[in-house]
């Protein structure tokens, strides 16, 4: 795709959001493609959110949480991992282009990794040929 992609990022409050904060305060440069949505935990992200985001015009979706074992709620990300694994496989099966829905673990101390993840995800979304998959067709203009 030619235009600047718009990626919706669900970042968990305790790790990934703080990681993004650290990337900012450390003045690390990374693409400005993310629209961040702070959630209490990666397990809060219902797979419906992902499909809804694609439907409403997100070019990509990133869900990021704490590393396994680091969850603020002890085991939220373990459950999240299972949910995402199942959803990811199902979406791949129905032909969603690779690179549109991504997952990552970023801790509060990994500002550098956060920037790398954003670069990786942005590049991935830029490779996607058809971002209109699952985009809702409306009879009226959005925005």
């Amino acid at each position: 795709m030619d235009k600047e992609p718009r990626i919706l990022a669900f970042l968990c409050n305790w790790c990934s959001y703080a990681g993004a904060d650290l990337a900012g305060t450390s003045r690390i440069q990374y693409p400005t493609t993310l629209r961040v949505l702070r959630v209490p935990c990666s397990a809060r992200v219902n797979p419906q959110f992902i499909l809804k985001a694609l439907q409403e015009g997100a070019d990509g979706v990133l869900v990021s949480g704490c590393h396994p074992g680091d969850c603020h709620y002890l085991e939220g990300n373990y459950y999240a991992r299972r949910k995402f694994a199942a959803m990811r496989d199902l979406l791949e099966y129905v032909g969603l282009e690779k690179g549109r829905v991504r997952f990552s673990w970023v801790s509060a101390a990994e500002g550098g990794k956060f920037a790398e993840v954003v670069k990786e995800v942005t590049n991935g979304v830029k490779q996607v040929k058809d971002t209109t998959q699952f985009l809702k067709k409306r009879d009226w203009p959005v925005e």
Partner: protein
């Protein structure tokens, strides 16, 4: 088939006259050809309405969650898949085991009305001639073999025998080789755009009647996500992505609960193919989490538990 019918009637008669149950859920002869309808028998003299059908893809466990809060003791005729659904419901505390009397049936596989309609058209009358069925349609007569009428889920079935039961009728059946997921592997060979195209073209016929949901034993939420208006997850109407997302999320909600009974596809008035999706969900759950719905009464549902070393090759 008739010996199965007799055996089911006898068991039903026994439990009803002994007062073990308040009613028995089973199959009765339908009002139209090649249709079996569910029937609730509460009096001994009505027991002869029960039959063992050839076209009984209705999953009788669907009705159990409606008795979640009642005190009724229920007898139920359960094929292999129905019994797995019952296990799935027991796991989710939808019904008490001690209120149930399960008449398990070693099911040789059902025939599909949906497939019959595809092969022969609108059927006015039908007659079983052993290995084939003779259908009378508006265009004339047509013979179709039983083998051709078997739905894809029965052909892929590896659990013909009931998982839990109080009595079992019918002769044991040897399970075929393989895991039954060949159709999924075959579909995966297509390119991604082709697969997306297939999803969209199949779902474009959907009229949002929710018959698939109503026919499904594990679609038993009091309020379905698709009916929620605050927030409105899926818009009303027949926009193509709404249709696709509705079915994708419904299938996703069946992760580790779907027993591949085929009731959803059989119930669809528009002939939308659904089993290619539900079977993939089952395949994912089996491959990733080593779980099969309703097979092990003790195992925790796969999305309600986790292993510390679950695979995470897809996570950055």
């Amino acid at each position: 088939m008739s010996s199965m019918t007799d055996a089911i009637r006898e068991e039903a008669r026994k439990i009803l006259s002994d007062g073990k149950v308040d009613f028995v859920i089973g199959y009765a002869e339908g009002d139209t050809p090649i249709q079996a309808k569910p029937v609730f028998i509460s009096r001994v003299e009505d027991v002869d309405k029960l039959v063992w059908p050839s076209f009984g893809l209705v999953n009788l466990a669907t009705y159990l969650s409606r008795y979640r809060t009642s005190k009724d003791r229920i007898g139920i005729v359960a094929k292999g898949c129905d019994s797995r659904s019952i296990v799935a419901l027991l796991k989710e505390n939808q019904i008490d085991r001690d209120r149930l009397f399960i008449i398990g049936v070693n099911c040789p596989g059902m025939l599909s009305r949906q497939v019959a309609r595809e092969k022969a058209g609108e059927i006015i009358a039908a007659e079983n001639k052993g290995e084939t069925w003779s259908f009378t349609t508006v265009e004339g007569n047509k013979e179709v073999s039983c083998f051709e009428l078997m739905p894809s889920n029965c052909a892929a079935c590896r659990h013909h025998a009931p998982v839990i039961s109080d009595v079992v009728v019918g002769d044991p059946i040897t399970e075929p080789d393989g895991d039954g997921y060949d159709s999924v592997r075959e579909f995966e060979k297509k390119s991604a755009p082709e697969r997306y195209q297939y999803l969209m073209s199949e779902m474009s016929a959907c009229i949002r009647c929710y018959a698939c949901r109503q026919a499904c034993p594990t679609c038993n939420c009091d309020e379905c996500f698709v009916d929620i208006t605050q927030p409105r997850w899926v818009d009303k109407g027949l926009e193509s992505t709404d249709l696709a997302i509705w079915q994708l999320i419904r299938v996703y909600h069946q992760a580790g609960r779907c027993v591949d009974c085929g009731a959803c596809e059989e119930a669809c008035p528009m002939g939308v193919k659904l089993l290619w999706l539900t079977r993939k969900m089952n395949f994912i759950v089996k491959e990733r989490f080593g779980f099969e719905a309703g097979v092990d009464p003790e195992a925790l549902p796969p999305l309600a538990t986790y292993e510390k070393d679950d695979s995470q090759e897809f996570i950055l």
